[in-house]
């Protein structure tokens, strides 16, 4: 079927779709990534969209992008630089051309490259002419051909123009020899009530595919074979959906109902939305009047016997500060999800960052230790959300789960677990037959108190934010008792270290250089380490998911290395955290604050520099 003359087998390819925020680029990107995943490729995606829903059309500020990376080998990041860019207008070209590999292919909707639009994007002259030497431009009259191909359908102009993205998608499908069936089925299901829309999208998709085939304007065609993937059943999942599902799974496993008190905030909102949609699983969601009420309703639900959670992003976590102290004081189970974004203040709501680590660890009044854990890939947000709930329940403590904008919106194929294979959650419920329930009597080993659910006869008790007497829980201002209780709260959290996995070295344990990361930077650091090792250089890598308490072997393991580089999307918060908690720890820091993930390229450059090679 293919007339492709010059087929190049590629291990991996990066594609970026870009256009106005109303151009449907997110949908287009998801279609390509799902099709590729079904084809058997490993895939990683990342949307890059403006904070404004519809920023002025044709301006660089209004450009919405979707990048995906797929391949026949393991894919750990959405990729640094694109092999193929689709630019629906000059602004999209301007915003993204620096992210295209030299010699890469750029498909442009030439109809949108009018003098007016070019000027609007801030170009002085025709950008295609200017960049022709460095890139392979395919100038496709996408608007014109879309109109033509739908001329005899009774569709209004606006709806016609809305299908343009399918023309671009069709072209890219041809370029990588992908079947159109998945996308066709998608439209048939989604718009089964409006057959005209289904027909229009399918027609335009085919038109794009055929156009690409006819013009043979593509000098190089790529073939990306299926990846060798561990057998199993898969689905594409974003970090936010995975987080929501991990919490529901934990509730089911613990035999509790799930309650989420939350206030919408970018980029965490989808967790609340997904939970709200899961009434079938019995999830109770409470869209509160503010962030404070979000956590407070959750604390009330925890007191009343639900698995309770609240979801937020940096500024929201700041508002939850006082209430999280109440959860520490009353020793109630609570999961606080913080999807980090660029800060401080409103900062960069739609962009990623890791600058809330210190806030999570220390952002409360008084001595208020709690557990902090961090997810590191979109799909393992499920595992760490589950783990956060498990620790919260089993250790009767609030747990802050840190994810970030990159994990939250990024997607990847996920090998699905079965519920029966997930770990058991043992809820420390008070014995209903206890005739002398003491709310602050602790387990000797774990220091965990028992949870008595209101409604249980005979276990009536009072808790509160005031310091309480050891064991009995009555209000106490006894000086020595405050010391005892403070120590109990600290020891209880320290004990969690006995229940979490130890750190593991990735790469060469005997390497001179140890690279350290945490949370959402895993994929990029891991890819850079892998590539360095491919070049026959030795490098060791350790990634933290448990931020507090630290894994038990942290000191032993880190003390083996003299040259350590801590890579973070902040000014060095983990580096500082390790300096305080690991005796003799010293390190170099590699930090980035641009609202974007690391690139594998820049990490490699830094690693090579430290390895003594330029």
């Amino acid at each position: 079927m293919s007339k492709k003359a010059n087929i190049v087998e590629k291990e991996q390819v990066v594609i970026r779709f870009s256009g106005d925020s109303g151009d449907g680029m997110q949908l287009t990107g998801m279609q390509f990534s799902n099709t590729s995943a079904l084809f058997g490729n490993d895939v990683s995606t990342f949307p890059d969209y403006p904070a404004e829903i519809r920023a002025p059309q044709g301006t660089v500020g209004g450009v919405s992008g979707f990048q995906l990376h797929f391949g026949s080998s393991e894919i750990n990041t959405p990729g640094d630089y694109a092999d193929v860019l689709v630019a629906m207008n000059p602004a999209a070209l301007k915003a993204n051309i620096e992210w295209v590999k030299k010699g890469g292919t750029i498909i442009v909707n030439i109809d949108a490259f009018t003098d007016k639009n070019i000027a609007r994007a801030g170009y002085d002259s025709d950008p295609i002419q200017e960049n022709k030497r460095d890139y392979n431009f395919i100038e496709a009259p996408i608007s014109e051909l879309t109109k033509e191909c739908l001329a005899n359908l009774e569709l209004d102009q606006k709806s016609v123009m809305r299908t343009r993205n399918m023309f671009a998608l069709g072209m890219v499908y041809w370029l990588f020899d992908r079947p159109l069936t998945y996308t066709e089925k998608f439209f048939e299901t989604k718009f089964h009530k409006v057959p005209l829309v289904v027909e229009a999208n399918k027609r335009v998709l085919h038109a794009g595919y055929n156009f690409a085939e006819t013009i043979e304007a593509l000098p190089i065609n790529y073939k990306v074979s299926p990846a060798k993937i561990q057998p199993g059943t898969f689905r594409n999942i974003s970090g936010n959906t995975a987080t929501a599902w991990g919490l529901i799974a934990a509730a089911e496993k613990a035999g509790l109902e799930l309650f989420c008190g939350s206030y919408p905030i970018t980029p965490a909102t989808e967790i609340l939305q997904e939970l709200a949609a899961r009434k079938d699983m019995g999830v109770k969601t409470f869209q509160a009047e503010d962030e404070i009420a979000g956590i407070c309703t959750a604390i009330g639900a925890a007191f009343a016997g639900d698995l309770a959670c609240t979801t937020t992003s940096g500024p929201g976590l700041a508002l939850k500060t006082e209430a999280s102290g109440l959860a520490v004081m009353t020793e109630l189970p609570l999961v606080i999800v913080n999807v980090q974004r660029g800060g401080p203040s409103t900062g960069l709501p739609t962009k990623t960052e890791q600058s809330d680590l210190m806030q999570a660890l220390h952002g409360r009044s008084g001595e208020a230790p709690l557990v902090v854990i961090a997810a590191s890939t979109p799909s393992n947000c499920f595992d760490y959300a589950f783990q956060a709930a498990k620790i919260a329940l089993e250790h009767m403590t609030p747990v802050i789960l840190l994810t970030d904008g990159f994990l939250a919106n990024g997607t990847e194929p996920w090998r699905l677990p079965r519920m029966e294979n997930l770990p058991v959650i043992k809820v420390p419920l008070a014995n209903p037959n206890d005739t002398n329930y003491l709310p602050y009597l602790r387990d000797k080993e774990t220091h965990v108190r028992k949870w008595a659910i209101p409604g249980t006869p005979g276990l009536e008790h009072r808790i509160g934010g005031l310091e309480k007497m050891d064991v009995t829980g009555t209000v106490s201002y006894v000086p020595k008792n405050h010391q005892v209780m403070t120590n109990h709260r600290e020891n209880k959290i320290n004990k969690v270290a006995d229940f979490i996995p130890e750190l593991e070295i990735i790469g060469d344990p005997d390497a001179k250089l140890l690279v350290i990361g945490w949370g959402g930077t895993y994929g990029h650091i891991y890819s850079a380490v892998k590539e360095i090792r491919k070049e026959k250089k030795k490098i060791a890598f350790v990634h933290f998911n448990y931020m507090w308490p630290l894994p038990k072997n942290t000191t032993t393991l880190l003390s083996k290395y003299k040259n350590i580089l801590v890579c973070e999307l902040n000014l060095g918060q983990l580096a500082d955290h390790l300096k305080v908690n690991v005796h003799g720890f010293d390190c170099e820091k590699f930090n980035k604050l641009q609202g974007q993930p690391f690139t594998v390229e820049e990490l490699k450059e830094k690693f090579n520099q430290l390895l003594g090679e330029k």
Partner: protein, 339 residues
């Protein structure tokens, strides 16, 4: 079981904790009234959760033998909402003060009322900050001289009833700490009402605002200065039942029943169940000395509650849901298998 049959008395609701309110504080009387009401309601102790914020009155849960939670300043409405939604079988009581509910907790206060979460919100209004030793509150009268207003306040006070009705409140009642009998009756009505029942208790702070409500509790004159509203009854008041409330134009008017111009037939008949809040608002806003202050249940309108709607919605969705457990959800939709 035996404990279901034994009738509890007010004493059974007392905890073993020493009560630390000042001698003579109005809170003592309110505590007794609520314990009496709970005994009369015959709700088992384990089904009661008392949630408070911060302030003198918020120590309340410690003095009860039920489940209790003394939380943080202003947030009791939110925490109580979470308790009720998580565990709808509980009878949830929120204890709060004028500062806790209407200053720091104003946002949660109006929203719990708007949602109509089924809880009993007992608002102790002493028009002063007591626990912090005497600063003005959002209900302190204009010009009140306090520690933070040594030259008098220059702000206008909230009328709790007006705020409740403005937030679409469905139940509002008012009582006075000294009147235990009236308080018990009102607390019972509040508990029986499904939805957010707000009871404003005019409470005396003996140390920092003594006598704030003295005009209304004065033994000789109280019947001339207050009116106890009863649903279905004409609005008669006065020691000698010689006065009444009538509607004149769009305003309420105090009329005499002895000067021959008005009879009982001309008076307003209290309709607490009327959904239109117009008259309720006027009644709630009556101020002495122009009017008698209204006590009793001013407004009581039945509307579905938030918590029952949440439960109902979940049940409805689950009835026709494709997915019965998390395995179903995980493996639903677009999945693919690699062998």
């Amino acid at each position: 079981m035996a404990q279901d049959i034994i009738k509890l008395t007010a004493k059974d609701f007392k905890s073993d904790q020493e009560i630390r309110w000042c001698p003579g504080c109005g809170d003592h009387a309110v505590l007794n009234s609520i314990q009496k009401a709970m005994a009369d309601l015959e709700i088992p102790k384990e089904k009661i959760a008392v949630i408070s914020g911060i302030g003198c009155s918020s120590r309340f849960p410690y003095y009860m033998s039920t489940y209790g939670f003394h939380t943080i300043h202003g947030r009791a409405s939110a925490i109580a909402s979470g308790v009720k939604v998580a565990n709808p079988d509980l009878s949830v009581w929120q204890i709060t003060g004028d500062g806790d509910a209407m200053a720091i907790g104003g946002n949660h206060f109006i929203h719990v009322i708007r949602r109509n979460v089924d809880l009993n919100l007992i608002l102790f209004n002493n028009e002063i900050y007591g626990l912090t030793k005497g600063q003005y509150s959002p209900t302190s009268q204009f010009g009140a001289v306090t520690k933070t207003s040594p030259f008098g306040t220059v702000e206008y006070p909230f009328q709790p009833g007006e705020l409740v009705i403005g937030a679409q409140g469905k139940f509002f009642a008012r009582t006075i700490d000294m009147n235990v009998k009236l308080s018990v009756d009102i607390f019972i009505e509040a508990a029986k009402h499904k939805g957010t029942s707000v009871v404003e208790v005019l409470q005396n702070c003996v140390i920092y605002n003594d006598g704030a409500h003295a005009a209304l509790s004065d033994k000789e004159e109280k019947d001339n200065r207050t009116i106890v509203l009863k649903h279905g009854e004409p609005m008669v008041f006065g020691k000698d039942r010689d006065k009444g409330i009538a509607l004149e134009g769009l305003k309420l008017k105090v009329v005499s029943l002895t000067d021959g111009k008005y009879t009982e037939k001309d008076l307003l008949v209290h309709d607490a169940y009327e959904p239109n809040p117009g008259v309720h608002l006027m009644l709630a806003n009556m101020k002495y000395p122009e009017y008698p202050v209204a006590l009793g249940v001013i407004r009581k309108v039945d509307t579905p509650t938030y918590d029952e709607s949440v439960t109902k919605q979940i049940k409805t969705v689950q009835k026709s849901a494709k997915h019965k457990n998390m395995n179903d959800v995980l493996y639903s939709g677009n999945t693919w298998t690699i062998e």
